[in-house]
């Protein structure tokens, strides 16, 4: 039987349907017997749902500045040609 550590290591792949069929059944077998791993997988799934809706508020890029620098760079390059 798989250990809890193995199940925890494979948890993402299991949730992503990214394990072979025999391995999937071995994980399911473990989950039937192990309340801890069931909870672990459930928490991981909740985490996925919550985080995929997260707003990553990194600084909003200063498009104007980037655009000006870009224009400058293109002008420089065309002078060199």
């Amino acid at each position: 039987m798989l250990s809890c550590k193995q199940v925890a290591t494979l948890a993402s792949q299991y949730l992503d349907h990214d394990v072979s069929t025999p391995l999937k059944w071995r994980i399911r077998m473990h989950l039937m017997m192990c309340a801890n791993c069931r909870r672990f997988i459930r928490h991981l799934q909740i985490t996925q749902t919550v985080t995929k809706n997260i707003k990553v508020d990194e600084q909003t890029p200063d498009s104007e500045k980037i655009w000006q620098e870009l224009q400058q760079k293109i002008r420089q390059e065309s002078k060199q040609d």
């Binding site: 250990s3 809890c4 550590k5 193995q6 925890a8 290591t9 948890a11 993402s12 792949q13 990214d18 801890n36 791993c37 909870r39 672990f40 459930r42 928490h43 991981l44 909740i46 985490t47 996925q48 749902t49 919550v50 985080t51 995929k52 809706n53 997260i54 707003k55 990553v56 508020d57 990194e58 909003t60 890029p61 498009s63 104007e64 980037i66 655009w67 620098e69 870009l70 760079k73 293109i74 390059e77």
Partner: protein, 202 residues
């Protein structure tokens, strides 16, 4: 905004359209560049990429989406820069082990069973958790602090919903490693929710 119209405007040299695209994709392009070449060269690589976009947009054949095209350009520029700097950084150096994570051996008995029971969550409803503003802030903060490759892999997979194959080629990591990176990132974020459930803060 309608993509086909947007591309037509870009090809026509419409600078408003170009500024709009910069606003939309600069952040994501930066995360990819950072994941591949690191902080020091990322800004330059993204700038080179915009120059290339500006010069080559007329040849954009619309077989892929605009986003995929942009991400491929930044990925290629970053890989080229990495070769030029011949600074081969291994995945381990970029994303070292995180002690204290769920997969830490200390969390398991010798037979591989959990040392301690997996903690209970009082709130198991994703909808309700999404309402918790402070939790959102904690997750966003932690996400920004992830090692660059993990962060890019996680954003591309779980937020931008790219396939693993695409992520492998964009970030130049193996199929196995990209899965490990995404898993580690998810576990770190799960720990944030864990702590929040227990203490009500980050």
């Amino acid at each position: 905004m309608d993509e086909s119209l947007l591309v037509t405007q870009l090809i026509a040299g419409d600078d408003k359209a170009f500024r709009y695209v910069i606003g939309q994709y600069q952040t994501l392009m930066l995360s990819i560049a950072r994941a591949i070449v690191g902080d020091v060269f990322a800004d330059e690589v993204v700038q080179e990429s915009w120059v290339s976009v500006y010069k080559n947009i007329a040849g954009f054949e619309r077989r892929a989406s605009l986003k995929t095209w942009l991400l491929t350009i930044v990925s290629n520029k970053a890989k080229a820069r990495l070769r030029k700097e011949s600074r081969m950084v291994s995945l381990e150096q970029l994303d070292g082990e995180t002690p204290g994570s769920y997969l830490d051996s200390a969390n398991f008995k010798r037979d591989g069973h959990w040392q301690n029971p997996v903690s209970h969550w009082n709130n198991e409803s994703p909808e309700a958790l999404l309402e918790e503003k402070q939790l959102q802030a904690c997750i966003a903060k932690t996400l920004l602090l992830l090692p660059p490759t993990q962060k890019a892999a996680f954003i591309l997979r779980d937020i931008e919903q790219h396939s693993f194959d695409e992520i492998c080629s964009l970030l130049d990591v193996s199929a196995a490693n990209v899965r490990v990176l995404v898993h580690r990132a998810r576990l770190t974020l799960m720990q944030v929710i864990d702590r929040y459930q227990e203490t009500g803060s980050c």
